[in-house]
Symmetry: D2
Subunit: 340 residues, 4 copies
């Protein structure tokens, strides 16, 4: 950590900071310049943060040298983590496709999607059990009933299932039942929910698919994953699904995060082009791009009849569009050395 | 709502949409142009959203005409809502100052801040009971113990108290005890928590101070408030506290939201310059600006010794700085016709 | 165009607006609602903009229905525009690779890159003749001397050449010499320069490669291209190269813009992953993603020895890295039905 | 400057970097850690940038310690720079108001605004001589004719005048005539134009009002100003006018930049609430906020009849609104210790 003092910072203030650094058992560096003094501290920067040096009015800036995360980093674990969702392996040789409807509307609907997903080569069935309404006219999801339908469709097709929990009680409900729990973007920093997800994984082995918050930097995203790993749940896949911006869809699918995370972290990375593109027309190109740039898989919204969908129809592929995308994905996956 | 069809959309598709609009009891408009057909629908647009027209592949774009919120809008309620927090009135004649430490660290600390707040003319005491850690090295707050200390400091100084709840259990704990419950930016769309807050208000009368999410547009912010109002809790104050951007602090305090919300909504608006500025040096100018542009009050981080604060010290004012700010606020408040 | 009046707008104001719409020869619509009146106007919305209706204090909002551009739109010209740069065709069957150094440093350097580019299958040689310094310690480019070296390297390898002009005098200098003129992101709305580029094309036939501004929406990007087309220069390729955001590199390469522009416009789209990724490590994955999502080509920074580059070394590929990327691109291009 | 090496960087690479640092006459630091080596270099970081260390594949990150600008910094010049525009002093005791129409439409129009400006206490007359059209339906400004009208209106009212130049030829035309030259946001990094502006100041003494680019960080803004100062033109005022974002107006007026720049730089800061708010309704609150947070003045769009304005009518105040704003500004200015 580098501590840039303001010009004219008094000598005793500088010495006091150096003493606090050494008191933490860290090495301190003193770099006097012509205009200002710069201090350094070598060691675990997360411990240094407890010194709260930014609060010192004589400190102009504090610059971390090292990443603020550790458990999720490549240095901590060199080899790629492979996250198992039933028989599917996220981060392994195969490019994983998880497909399903934004909202589970009926047993028939989810079964139709499950069969299409299975037939086209998807390896995970996802579906909206609980939804996150933007207004009270938006549906909230059919909850337990939808969960049963999802589990049945998964069992009938042999596909493991993934669903999102928005609150601790929902997490407990899903915990022992589904193979993967989704944490949505708006809950990325909801540590109560992250802890509940970690508990669910410890009890049932369910994978955790953690979405990046729409206002989160990649570093904050990795810190949220770190929280889950440190809570005892190592099987976490990261999901890039778009950040707020001024793109056509009001957000940008930040595919640049994929190689960045791959370099810094051992965790696998998925992309959600349905959420990120915001419109069905653009889902396929973004899914192909995700595969090409090294993502370990995609989450897709698929619906038998998007025009009549209860939620998210504007971004859901119909079965024909989904099949076309799967056919287009195969050679891209092969080009980057992966099976589908 | 305006529905722009793609060029070449078939006539039967157009007629089907018109029929669905009329089936909802709304008036439809047909505007054929040289290149494409444009349709209109007059009536409650939130009902129209259920038609999910964006999911139709022949629809190029759907443009709402009216705001997607109603209960929070000026048209629905012309006069300003005044939200009571104990004796303080947010949205009334006075510019309300709520002050307190980022984290409540001890009975002595919160009492010192309470006394300073009282002496300087603040009318609400706030304090961090539960915190939202970014990493596991950040403190999580002292919870029940901190709550008792906050309540005692409030009682001793005669100030009403405000604190943030991050989860439903915390909401229930704070519910009957504090005069105002804060919903943090990362929970703006956490509808489970919003519902719990609404329940707390219905049972205990506590005001709700709802922060804008760091990735939220003003419209999404108003929709979140609408959710709370529609859940039966009318006493909501909106808190602008910065959105993610590329400003000096990594975010922008969007003061433009203040007059915008004032025009569109009857709800009062607070500003949190401590969160928005991110650094103590810039809190005072932003607080003065908030008052000048019409905000109904500010939330301030104040700490007796920011350099040794457990959390948020870099953005907390010390007591002398807080007193200077209060002195500077008085003539600004007077200039915009308010008392302090 | 839809004109939403404020509640309580006086009848005479509404009638005056309707009269102005009709006076322009357009059809007007009157849609009275329970709370406010909504007006419509059918016809060329760019003409309607001259009515300046947003300036009317009784107007709450003005919503365009149609895109504000015409010449660049798919409706205006259904078939893809193919832009020729010497023998290379941008927007045709081949995925076009333009490669070259951020700054042309010497005849030897540019010849080395040209030979590597030629050998690996690139079809355009690009190079920095004039640079855009951020500070006075940054180089400004070697100008005429660099131009001669670029032209010679192009001639020797048989590659057409592309270079950026930052000002009108530079545009005139490059005009008759290079096969493609680049307009940088910071000049996207510099209409003096756009006009000079259009003139250069009319005189010499040079293609124009127009970069998207870092703060520009896709719509503003298309409007800038429209300006060039309307000035008589039809051979324009659009270059997505990243918008300002809070990504790892301080910006987001907005690949979502590629399918969006392809749907709305007939112009070809290139991607600059060197600028967009900001760091050589991430250039290859982003180039593969660009190809997968439908871009017509990429602009790449290639340098024989990035570590000693005068400018942009951090994002330039060395020759080995460039060769690896070209090998990886071939199967991706094939997968999307293109040659390399 | 801190250089973070990748884990496993070879010893000879590290030593080579240290040798290059020392060869520049700078002091080097070697900080070996458990996982990676961190190097430091003390001295002028702008010189260090020429080492291009980010281009080294064994370097993970390069972190500047000091600001990349010097001439504009507080350390370089402790006292506030006061920029004279005729009799007006930007950065002095008075809060400077520059008012005028977005486009100068006629001698009568600009004279009407000039008289209103003079009567209400504004001290600079501004007006659009050349405009920056977004599409070819937007006006481009009346150029020389408008300039003569502006100069005459200024002379008749005794107000100094300010106008924007979009290109070098325009800069030369305005140079000896106006008291202040505006560089628009889209030209912030147009160094050809910045150099022309510096020349104009050296010849005629005209002040330069430099707008922040809509995608620019504050640091990039200060670097652009540094370029002008280093080119020999010290009389530069910085204009915050909004950055691209997802606010109500599609951008955020970043008032936080005002105290930030005031702390880091000796240059005065103006705010353009007309551009930043985007709509006349919100101009007054933002102007008051700008004054309250320490800006040295505002640029205002004022038009005798905004409804019929040729350009920018939606954000222009009419004369009555302008007078109300001036009346409201007076006590705010007094509250922050300034005259109007």
């Amino acid at each position: 950590m580098i501590i840039v003092m303001k010009p004219g910072a008094p000598e005793e203030e500088i010495e006091a900071i150096r003493a606090r650094i050494r008191a933490l058992g860290l090495e301190d560096l003193h770099m006097p310049g012509s205009e200002r003094v710069v201090l350094g501290a070598l060691g675990d920067e997360r411990v240094l943060e407890t010194l709260n040096l930014r609060a010192n009015p004589f400190v102009e800036d504090v610059k971390p040298i090292l990443a603020p995360y550790k458990s999720v980093s490549r240095e901590f674990k060199v080899y790629d983590t492979v996250v198992r969702v039933g028989a599917a392996e996220i981060g392994g040789d195969a490019f994983v496709v998880a497909a399903g409807p934004p909202a589970i509307e009926s047993a028939e609907q989810i079964r139709a999607v499950a069969e299409a997903a299975k037939a086209a080569g998807a390896s995970v069935l996802r579906g909206g059990v609980y939804l996150s309404p933007l207004s009270r006219f938006d549906p909230e999801g059919r909850g337990p009933e939808a969960l049963e339908e999802l589990l049945r469709a998964g069992a009938e097709t042999g596909l493991p299932v993934a669903a999102e929990a928005l609150a601790r009680a929902q997490m407990e409900e899903l915990g022992g039942r589904v193979q993967a729990i989704v944490i949505g973007e708006q809950n990325m920093r909801n540590f109560v929910l992250l802890d509940a997800a970690a508990n669910a994984q410890k009890e049932s082995g369910a994978a955790i698919l953690l979405q990046r918050g729409a206002a989160a930097t990649v570093e904050e995203f990795l810190l949220a994953a770190e929280h889950v790993l440190d809570a005892g749940a190592p099987d976490v896949a990261l999901v890039e699904r778009g950040v707020r911006g001024f793109g056509a869809a009001g957000q940008h699918l930040d595919l640049g995060a994929v190689p960045f995370i791959k370099q810094r972290s051992h965790l696998p990375v998925l992309v959600d082009p349905s959420a990120g593109a915001g419109r069905a027309d653009f889902v396929a190109p973004m899914a192909l791009a995700a595969c090409a740039c090294g993502a370990d898989g995609v989450l897709l919204d698929v619906h038998p009849a998007p025009k009549t969908a209860l939620a998210g129809g504007e971004r859901a592929l119909d079965v024909a569009g989904f099949n076309r995308l799967m056919a287009a994905l195969a050679p891209i996956a092969a080009a980057v050395g992966r099976s589908l």
